[in-house]
């Protein structure tokens, strides 16, 4: 196995991005395309090669740490610039570069009309680099670095249309919430340094069972999970992701669906050795995932903006992964991460074709009947909807069922979470079919389409097609009671994983088919069977609907409880405290001295008598002082 390959894969997108950024003028578009897509595609090929190489190794030799230079030696802590090359990171590399290549290719066409073509690809390239750094890092420090840099890339790309104030605000929000996560991870790293004296994965995991007290390991894992929650949009740090849809659609597909937002899952899996020592934290992770997946699913039911529907569905799907990871089903979590990358990217890209075709229109209220105009998008979206809903045979079916089956087997908590997950699966089917039906089915909106929905060219269609195939059949690599390639592949990292029992598989299979059918049926009943029913129902559930539309009002609460008080405090300090108190101290001292000077000036009245008097008084008081001192 050649570790240098990993370095090359890591470096290529950075090189491409840097070249694009440093190019003195806007380079020709053809060159931008090559420099944008080329490194990622090449990276995918090299990752595949690395994968093939790794297949040839025995499972013990599949864990490699490749050091380049000593980054810092401070106190007794040494940190290297090093990559961890193992099945988990290779899997992530393949997903990132694979899905990434497709989305990059798609973007060459999607962004064709944009002024900042070069900037788009430079920032996307930077994102891929950061994401690769995140998954390849061999220690917590570079994990945090990668963690923050993907946040930065996300910030840049959400705010890609920086003239639009909503985009700018959304970018800021995403950044700030991610900083909260970063801080939590940093504090977690402090505990590791203080307790174990190292940040290297291998050393930490080796020393943790003996070196960390129960409290410390719970603290570390909870803190790391706060980071994961911020990045993966888990409740209560989820509010930024829907807003992040202000970014261009390919960005949403790559960063806010397929890769970056799943980093939290990766983190939990990567540090599972710690979570296994921390039952409380693991339960917290699982419960958070369950709460998130349910809340997000309910919110997704009423969203009008197509991309927001997808965003909430992303939050919900990551909730499944997190729940699985919290319950110890790491293989299932990673499996769902992969299939989700396929079908969610597919959904975004196909919806992107719609948006592109409608010149930026995103509201469901102004869509409908598009199936006639955009057949490919229709078919692709339908495949995506089937996959995410978990229709048997599609990729989502296998991965989601594995999660639920694992939950069934994971004790009382697992059973409870199973119920939530199964319920949410039905809701998922409902809102995804709602999306499908309201977009492509039914009548066209009043007044028709201002622009003629135009078809897309091959750079957009080919990735969609490839992803559609993957979404349909990508699940077959891990079939219950059949084979489990993902779990086997990851075994060197996550250890042997118990396979869900027959009962769990059976119950889950039945339940999920049932809820999907119900969910899809209800969607059909409301949105397709009778066009008027939707508005009638909307009127009946107005209050609930508003609550859901507002996402359970997290945003206003944060605004009123945290942001505004801080802002008011700042204003008070700036407007009142600083001038009155801080500046007042000096003013007071100066006016004291000045007052003294005025008094002395008044005493100097030019009269000899006064002078003589002062002199005599001076003599007397000196004498008194001396007498007092001597007699004391």
């Amino acid at each position: 196995m050649e570790p240098a390959l990993a370095w090359i894969v890591l470096g290529l997108p950075l090189l491409g991005a840097a070249t694009l950024a440093a190019w003195p003028t806007e380079p020709p578009r053809s060159m931008t395309r090559v420099l944008g897509v080329g490194p990622i595609a090449l990276g995918f090929l090299l990752s595949a090669w690395l994968y093939v190489q790794m297949l040839g190794e025995s499972s013990d030799d599949r864990l490699v740490v490749s050091r380049v230079w000593e980054w810092i030696e401070i106190g007794d802590l040494t940190i290297d610039v090093a990559l961890q090359i193992d099945p988990l990171s290779v899997m992530m590399m393949l997903i990132i570069t694979g899905v990434g290549s497709l989305i990059f290719l798609y973007s060459t066409e999607y962004m064709e009309h944009d002024r900042d073509y070069r900037r788009f690809f430079a920032e996307m390239g930077f994102f891929v680099f950061s994401m690769l750094l995140l998954v390849l890092a061999a220690n917590f420090l570079f994990l945090i670095v990668g963690w923050a840099l993907v946040g930065l890339a996300s910030y840049l790309l959400i705010g890609f249309y920086y003239e639009k104030p909503p985009a700018v605000a959304a970018a800021k929000k995403a950044f700030i919430i991610n900083v909260i996560g970063d801080i939590a991870m940093v504090i977690g790293a402090f505990i590791l340094i203080v307790e174990l004296g190292t940040l290297d994965y291998a050393l930490v995991f080796e020393a943790a069972p003996d070196g960390l007290s129960r409290g410390a390991v719970e603290a570390v894992t909870i803190l790391l999970f706060v980071g994961a929650a911020a990045k993966s949009a888990q409740v209560p740090l989820h509010t930024w992701l829907p807003d992040a849809m202000e970014g261009p659609t390919p960005v949403s597909a790559l960063i806010h669906a397929a890769t970056m937002v799943t980093a939290g899952v990766y983190l939990v899996v990567r540090t599972h050795e710690l979570y296994e020592l921390a039952p409380f934290a693991s339960d917290l992770v699982a419960i958070t995932g369950a709460v998130t997946l349910f809340l997000a699913a309910t919110i997704a039911m009423v969203q009008v903006d197509v991309k927001r529907v997808l965003a909430w569905s992303t939050v919900s799907q990551i909730g499944y992964m997190i729940m699985a990871a919290g319950l110890g089903a790491y293989g299932a979590a990673m499996f769902h991460l992969m299939t989700h990358a396929f079908f969610k990217a597919l959904l975004f890209l196909s919806i992107g074709i719609v948006i592109h075709g409608l010149a930026g229109e995103q509201s469901l209220d102004r869509m409908g009947g598009l199936g006639r105009h955009l057949k490919l998008a229709y078919v692709a979206t339908a495949i995506g909807v089937l996959a995410i809903s978990g229709v048997p045979g599609t990729s989502g079916f296998f991965s989601k069922d594995e999660i639920l089956a694992s939950a069934w087997d994971a004790g009382d908590l697992g059973r409870a979470l199973w119920v939530v997950g199964a319920l949410a699966a039905g809701i998922t089917a409902f809102y995804m079919f709602r999306l499908l039906l309201r977009t492509f089915y039914g009548p066209e909106p009043g007044g028709g389409y201002g622009v003629h929905p135009h078809r897309s060219r091959w750079p957009m269609t080919v990735p969609v097609a490839v992803l559609a195939v993957l979404s349909l059949f990508g699940g077959w690599i891990q079939v219950p009671s059949g084979w489990s390639w993902i779990t086997d592949w990851l075994e060197p990292v996550i250890g042997p994983e118990s396979i869900p029992g027959q009962q769990a598989e059976g119950v889950t299979l039945v339940a999920s088919i049932a809820v999907v059918a119900i969910g899809a049926g209800v969607a059909w009943w409301i949105f397709a069977a009778d066009p008027g029913r939707r508005s009638r129902l909307a009127g009946r559930f107005a209050a609930t609907r508003r609550l859901l539309e507002d996402g359970y009002r997290f945003d206003p609460v944060y605004q009123q409880a945290l942001v505004q008080p801080s802002r008011d405090l700042g204003d008070y300090l700036y407007g009142r405290f600083e001038p009155d108190f801080i500046q007042g101290m000096l003013k007071g001292a100066v006016s004291l001295v000045r007052g003294g000077a005025i008094a002395l000036r008044a005493a100097q009245d030019g009269l000899v008598r006064t002078y003589a008097f002062v002199m005599v008084a001076g003599v007397v008081s000196l004498g008194a002082l001396l007498a007092w001192v001597v007699t004391r």
């Binding site: 923050a148 970063d182 300090l573």
Partner: protein, 525 residues
């Protein structure tokens, strides 16, 4: 050749040469750039030749000045001060280039004052003797007084006065403390000296140590500044010409922290230990306070000024933690803050090129007309908010690591500052750069060739530190370990954290007689 002395005297000599009436502008520019360049070259050569593993001062240069009073000229560098010298020489070089490219009125005088300022700062960072330290501490005021008073903007009069009064209020008790230190030490060891390395390890009683430390710390607290002694800062930063503000923030603000780690903590460990929590809490308040102020500040300068208050709070936290990692992080962070804040002020200057004032809310959307500037601005803003992967992150991370080890809640609360840094830096960046364009002539703001000359060294240095912090941190380990070891003992830290040996009371030695060269004794552990 006494390199360190030459480094200090060269800019001073150049400043005096410029002060000769009748110097023409081109001559002055050449002289200034040449002197600053040569100084920088000499500092670089020192950096290269420095023994990175040694704890004591190197390249020490000692001459008796007034031997009757124990006064001497003693300068030298170690693994801590070398980076501050490098920062000073580098930032001043860039400042002089920037001056030459947008010359102020009475340029010759300006250049002379800048060079004098450089010399005094270099002298301060190289001082190996308390009196020399004090001399440069005060001498620094003169050039900056003139720089603000003559070339300053609106409100320069009160700002200068405030600046001077505040600084003097701190430094004058320091003078008394310096004297008291020498006399008290004489009672203990029998030798009368102001030599910093000889005063280290004098076993002052706890009360003496506390009082003497108090005498010093006020000066440091004001110079830093630590909340609530920062009253001079906003006015001075507002009124000074931008280049001077940049230098003030980038270099001069390091004087206070440097004093803490060079003099305060190692010489008065018991006092430092008694004050550790007080100072740390004040620093913490400063972090939060400065961040909130920066968030609400109306102008870019004020924002950067108050952000400095917050950033320096981190450095103080690091030093007062008496932890090797935190100390090393603090030293690194001194350099980082210098680089970042200098770059930030360069950008403020560039934005001022296309706008009337520097009110943040009155400009917007510059990015569309000046994309390259926006990109650079973003990099600087991110470094300022210490995003992981940036140079500042390294410093803050290790500072807080060390603080966390000893004062868990201080470290946790200090992270509020990190969060708020993101808030105010993004406010600055986004308000000015993003949104619809208005209020500024973006074309005038966009980077030009000469701007790159100033900015790229700063950015390159930031990148270099981010990629290889060991370059700086490596040389600081031994000196920091030596500096904090006595305080660690005083704070009753576990012995496995104390790296450097603590030698009590250096052997008594008679007052050197006139003409009697004191032997150069650098005790290295």
């Amino acid at each position: 050749m006494p390199m360190v002395t030459a480094i200090i005297l060269l800019p001073l000599a150049a400043a005096l040469a410029l002060a000769i009436p009748g110097t023409s502008r081109p001559q002055a520019r050449m002289t200034a750039l040449l002197a600053a360049g040569l100084t920088l070259a000499m500092v670089i050569s020192l950096t290269v030749r420095l023994d990175r593993d040694a704890a004591g001062l190197q390249f020490v240069d000692r001459h008796s000045w007034v031997s009757e009073a124990g006064l001497q000229w003693a300068v030298g560098v170690d693994g801590i001060s070398i980076w501050l010298l490098l920062l000073t020489a580098g930032i001043f070089m860039l400042a002089l280039i920037a001056t030459a490219w947008r010359p102020p009125e009475r340029e010759v005088g300006f250049l002379a004052a800048m060079l004098a300022g450089e010399a005094s700062l270099l002298g301060l960072f190289a001082a190996a003797d308390l009196v020399i330290f004090y001399v440069f501490w005060e001498a620094m005021l003169v050039p900056f007084f003139f720089l603000i008073a003559i070339w300053g903007g609106e409100g320069r009069g009160p700002a200068t006065i405030k600046f001077i009064i505040y600084t003097m209020v701190g430094s004058v008790p320091m003078l008394v403390a310096i004297l008291a230190t020498a006399f008290v030490a004489q009672d203990i060891t029998g030798q009368f000296t102001f030599d910093i390395s000889e005063l280290r390890g004098v076993s002052f009683s706890e009360a003496e140590s506390t009082w003497l430390f108090a005498g010093f710390v006020l000066a440091f607290a004001i110079k830093l500044p630590i909340w609530p002694f920062h009253g001079w800062l906003p006015d001075a930063y507002r009124a000074a010409p931008l280049i001077v503000t940049a230098v003030l923030a980038a270099v001069m603000s390091k004087a206070g922290v440097y004093g803490l780690i060079r003099v305060g903590v190692p010489t008065f460990p018991d006092g430092a230990a008694n004050f550790a929590i007080v100072l740390s809490v004040l620093a913490l308040i400063g972090i939060v306070y400065g961040s909130l102020m920066a968030w609400r500040a109306p102008t870019m300068r004020m924002l950067v000024a108050y952000s400095s208050l917050a950033h320096l709070g981190f450095i103080v936290l690091g030093i007062m933690a008496f932890d090797i990692q935190a100390g090393q992080g603090a030293v690194l962070q001194m350099v980082n803050h210098g680089l970042v804040v200098a770059a930030a002020f360069v950008i403020v200057g560039l934005i001022n090129r296309g706008t009337a004032g520097d009110h943040i809310d009155r400009i917007g959307g510059i990015a569309s007309g000046a994309p390259r500037l926006a990109a650079v601005f973003l990099i600087v803003a991110l470094a300022a908010l210490a995003i992981p992967g940036s140079n500042s992150f390294v410093g803050e991370f290790f500072i807080l690591t060390g603080v966390f080890r000893h004062h868990l809640w201080l470290a946790v609360l200090a992270t509020i500052g990190i969060l708020l840094a993101a808030v105010y830096m993004l406010r600055l960046y986004q308000t000015a750069m993003n949104g619809p364009a208005f209020g500024a002539n973006a074309r005038a703001i966009e980077l030009r060739t000469l701007d790159y000359v100033v900015l790229s060294p700063l950015l390159a240095a930031m990148l270099a530190i981010a990629l290889w912090p060991a370059g700086i941190v490596g040389s600081t380990r031994a000196p920091v370990a030596k500096a904090v070891a006595p305080a660690q003992v005083a704070a009753e830290r576990p012995t496995d954290q104390i790296e450097a040996p603590v030698v009590p009371n250096p052997p008594p030695r008679a007052l050197p007689l006139p003409g009697d060269e004191p032997e150069v004794a650098e005790v290295s552990p």
